[in-house]
């Protein structure tokens, strides 16, 4: 019984934490944008505008639901869910901290610990494409359709690089369990995969940007061309769900990059740190990537769509394959033997 309560507590805490972070992240987005552009940003609701996300949420709930004429009613309502749910489900296996003891129960700092968690995230995360493509199609708007198709083509293209990047990590770690992958990076800081596999790291980070439809690859929205992409016709909470899904996906991607390449929750040179410290370390590393998302968005210009696809297929895919080969060869011939 206590086990079950602890699990319940963990699920609630992690899910709540991620949703809360996503909400704060929307604020951070605007604050950072303002900072980069020498503005102030939201500062009216609460101290430093901290309650702004709450106000936004309440506003979303009370906004009018619009369903465009000619839209497919059922799919139009389902699409936001199909977009948000996979992103939220991927957090299930992210290791936020190592082993811990809560209320006398020995447990670990993730919702679930499964053997194939590294591929679970790709398999589940890849399903987010349905929300986008169906949202785009069901709106019966040209911009939405174009945006949806573009976004989904982009997502599938870069999913390959993501998958191959994960493969090369799995090859050297010898396990597909995220905890084992983190373990393999414990100890000295140069054991982080970011230093061991710089190429994979770079490709993976680029792929995360494309997977989450973030700048400089945000062709899902691409405001000047496609108004707002696949969610042009969406309003109120349905729009908010798309938004929330996107931010959750960013958080998940940042945590995954941390887990795969920056040693996850491991504190360098301190293998058995208490879990609170580990959580903090994880938070700090993830925050760096979260900041990177914003920094890039407000600094770099957007690609062209054909450039994006060319990059994905002609650069990222061959390089990822080569990288897997390289580390596969090194592993197969004993370079990473213990």
């Amino acid at each position: 019984m206590e086990d079950f309560l602890v699990i319940l507590l963990k699920v609630a805490a992690i899910y709540g934490g991620v949703i809360g972070t996503a909400a704060l992240y929307t604020l951070a987005e605007r604050k950072v944008a303002a900072w980069i552009q020498y503005r102030i940003g939201p500062n009216r609701v609460g101290p430093w505008g901290l309650l702004q996300p709450l106000a936004d949420g309440v506003k979303f709930i009370f906004k009018e639901e619009l369903v465009p004429a000619g839209a497919n009613k059922l799919l139009f309502r389902l699409a936001p869910m199909m977009s948000a749910v996979p992103a939220m489900l991927t957090i299930a296996v992210v290791p936020f901290a190592g082993d811990m003891t809560l209320f006398g129960v020995d447990t670990f700092g993730a919702i679930a610990k499964i053997d194939m968690s590294a591929f679970y995230v790709v398999a589940i995360g890849g399903l987010g494409v349905y929300g986008i493509i169906l949202g785009g199609w069901s709106s019966n708007s040209k911009y939405s359709l174009m945006g949806g198709l573009r976004a989904s083509a982009q997502m599938v293209s870069y999913e390959l690089s993501l998958l191959l990047g994960i493969l090369s990590i799995v090859v050297v770690s010898g396990s597909a369990d995220l905890y084992d992958i983190v373990d393999a990076q414990s100890g000295a800081i140069w054991r982080w995969n970011a230093f061991q596999q710089p190429l994979a790291f770079g490709l993976f980070v680029i792929a995360t940007f494309a997977e989450t439809n973030r700048h400089p690859f945000d062709f899902a929205e691409c405001e000047p061309e496609l108004v707002a992409g696949f969610h042009t016709e969406y309003s109120s909470m349905k729009f908010a769900l798309f938004f929330l899904g996107e931010y959750c996906a960013m958080i998940v991607m940042a945590s995954l990059t941390t887990t795969f390449f920056l040693g996850g929750f491991e504190v360098p040179f301190w293998a058995d740190a208490p879990w609170v410290i580990q959580l903090a370390a994880f938070g700090a590393k993830t925050a760096f990537f979260l900041f990177l998302f914003l920094w890039v968005r407000w600094t770099l210009p957007r690609f062209r769509f054909d450039q994006l696809m060319s990059l994905g297929w002609k650069v990222m895919l061959p390089l990822s394959l080569l990288n897997v080969f390289l580390y596969g060869a090194l592993t197969s011939f004993g370079a990473f033997g213990d």
């Binding site: 499964i114 053997d115 194939m116 493509i133 199609w137 198709l149 989904s152 599938v156 002609k314």
Partner: protein
């Protein structure tokens, strides 16, 4: 708990399967198929085949169904346009009833098939789960099933070439290949890319 889940997933799979063949729009048919894949993935997981479950999600749900959706979007087959198979053995009316009955009989026989001559499995799956299974699978795949494994890559290559040969249109009167696309050739390929 696991048993309940199995029966729930089974009902889900059957309902989705029925949806596949009953849906008016191909889009809903494909979405129902997606649902059936989820249910089956869950069942594989319950039966102790993690890797197969992930495969089901990764390839079937994550890739094949996306392809179906793309085609529906590209050809604009969402609702009104039926792409019909008129010849062959598409049935209607009375024939449908006959087909339904025979399929029902078939299902019954299938249930009979269950009399496998081996004892029903009363114990939970005995296999070791997870990585061990994956490692056994890898050992099998790279020793005994090495040839099928390599043949699989040939199959994929063949599919790739076949699809390009079928779907990519060249303009009449042009040579089959121009070296376009390679970084070291200058002239871009001049061909229609739209349908």
């Amino acid at each position: 708990m696991a048993e309940t889940l199995f029966y729930l997933l089974s009902i889900g799979a059957i309902a989705c399967g029925a949806g596949v063949i009953r849906a008016r729009m191909p889009l809903f048919s494909v979405l129902c198929l997606l649902g059936a894949f989820f249910c089956l993935s869950g069942i594989y997981l319950l039966a102790g085949f993690q890797f197969l479950a992930v495969t089901q999600l990764l390839v079937y749900a994550g890739a094949i169904m996306v392809l179906f959706l793309f085609v529906i979007m590209l050809l604009n087959l969402g609702d009104e346009n039926e792409i019909a198979r008129q010849s062959g053995i598409a049935l209607s009316g009375k024939q449908l009833a006959v087909a339904g009955t025979s399929a029902g009989v078939f299902a019954l026989i299938g249930v009979l098939t269950a009399g496998y001559g081996i004892a029903p499995v009363e114990t939970a799956s005995t296999r070791a789960s997870g990585i061990d299974e994956l490692q056994t699978l890898a050992v099998e795949l790279f020793s005994r099933y090495m040839l099928p494994f390599e043949a699989a890559s040939l199959l994929l290559l063949l599919t790739m070439i076949g699809v390009i040969a079928i779907a990519k249109r060249q303009r009449a009167g042009e040579p089959t290949h121009t070296g376009a696309g390679f970084p070291w050739t200058k002239e871009p390929l001049d061909e229609e890319s739209t349908l």
